[in-house]
């Protein structure tokens, strides 16, 4: 049993470990990186809804501003996506 395990371990090369680390890192990067934009976009949407509920006639401008704000808040999430893509496909 031990010998068998030792044999498996011996087969694992440094490249395999690097690949595993890459996949793990990509997953973590995407998962943790998505928290911030998620919260931020939620806050933006909540306040935009507040504003629309208070002044329904301003809906167009509020929606537009909300979309732009969310898109900017999304940047960090996009960066983490890019990093994840780099980790998966490039490195």
């Amino acid at each position: 049993m031990l010998e068998e395990a030792q044999g498996v371990v011996a087969q694992i090369s440094g490249e395999d470990i690097a690949a595993a680390a890459r996949y793990l890192a990509a997953g973590l990067c995407m998962g943790i990186g998505a928290i911030g934009p998620g919260i931020g976009q939620g806050i933006a949407a909540a306040h935009a809804l507040d504003g629309i509920a208070r002044q329904p006639e301003m809906e167009g401008a509020l929606f537009r501003t909300m979309i732009i704000g969310q898109a900017v808040a999304e940047s960090t999430g996009i960066y983490s996506l890019v990093v994840a893509i780099v980790l998966l496909f490039v490195v």
Binding site: R64, I67, I68, A71, V72, E74, S75, I78, Y79, L81, V82, I85, L88, F89
Partner: protein, 230 residues
């Protein structure tokens, strides 16, 4: 199927020692987008043929609606009407190009040119250079350069980084959204090939495509505004 995920076809043209590599499919797709837009332009142009005195015909109504939407949603964000007037063709074409590119992936066998980083980065850099050239021309060399050491001279590196981060985030945002959507659709289609990919395609292709095209154009306007007025 997923083995080739993230790979793409690259054409390599060598003229003597000079080697040119480009993404053949992306270039073809962007030519398709350009053909669609030029065709649309020729079609809409027919609405302009008739006399002003007459009642607007159907094509003219469509054209009016299109220009109204562009002016209302995008160009009205400019700080001045003269600037909006001057930048109208550029911003409108940017929006329409990105929009049609994003929507192209809905059609089977076609893919969005915007899922290629080269395309989005080049558009973002184009916006970057346009904004700074406009600022340079409007403010003159000294005031333009002075804008980088405000409010204090030691802020120069921070200002430079924040300026350079703009095109990077601008390009990567569009690329990340569209490519991420495509990637997601590919992965989900490999796992669940029925029904679900249709909804995802419509959501990512049409809805996210529209939102991102709008955001791309609005951010271009915002960057130009910032560069020109600050």
């Amino acid at each position: 199927m997923l083995d080739h995920l993230g790979e793409k076809l690259i054409a390599r043209v060598s003229i003597g020692d000079f080697v040119v590599r480009f993404d053949l499919i992306t270039i073809i797709m962007s030519w398709i987008v350009i053909a669609i837009l030029v065709g649309l332009a020729f079609y809409l142009r027919r609405g302009l043929r008739q006399n002003i005195e007459e009642k607007p015909n159907r094509i003219q109504a469509v054209l009016d609606a299109l220009i109204d939407v562009l002016q209302e949603q995008l160009l009205s964000n400019f700080i001045s009407t003269s600037l909006a007037r001057r930048m109208f063709p550029f911003i409108s074409t940017l929006f329409l190009f990105v929009l049609v590119s994003n929507w192209l992936s809905v059609i089977p066998y076609l893919q969005s040119p915007t899922q290629n980083l080269n395309v989005t980065a080049s558009l973002a850099l184009l916006v970057f250079f346009t904004s700074h050239l406009l600022a340079l021309r409007r403010k003159g060399g000294r005031r333009f350069l002075k804008g980088f050491i405000e409010p204090y001279p030691f802020m120069l590196p921070i200002n430079l980084v924040s300026e350079l981060a703009k095109p990077v985030s601008h390009g990567f945002r569009l690329f990340g959204n569209i490519f991420g959507g495509t990637l997601l659709i590919t992965v989900v289609s490999a796992m669940i090939p029925l029904v679900l990919p249709v909804g995802l395609t419509i959501f990512f292709g049409l809805f996210i495509g529209l939102i991102q095209a709008f955001v791309f154009a609005v951010l271009a306007v915002a960057y130009i505004n910032l560069a020109v007025e600050s």
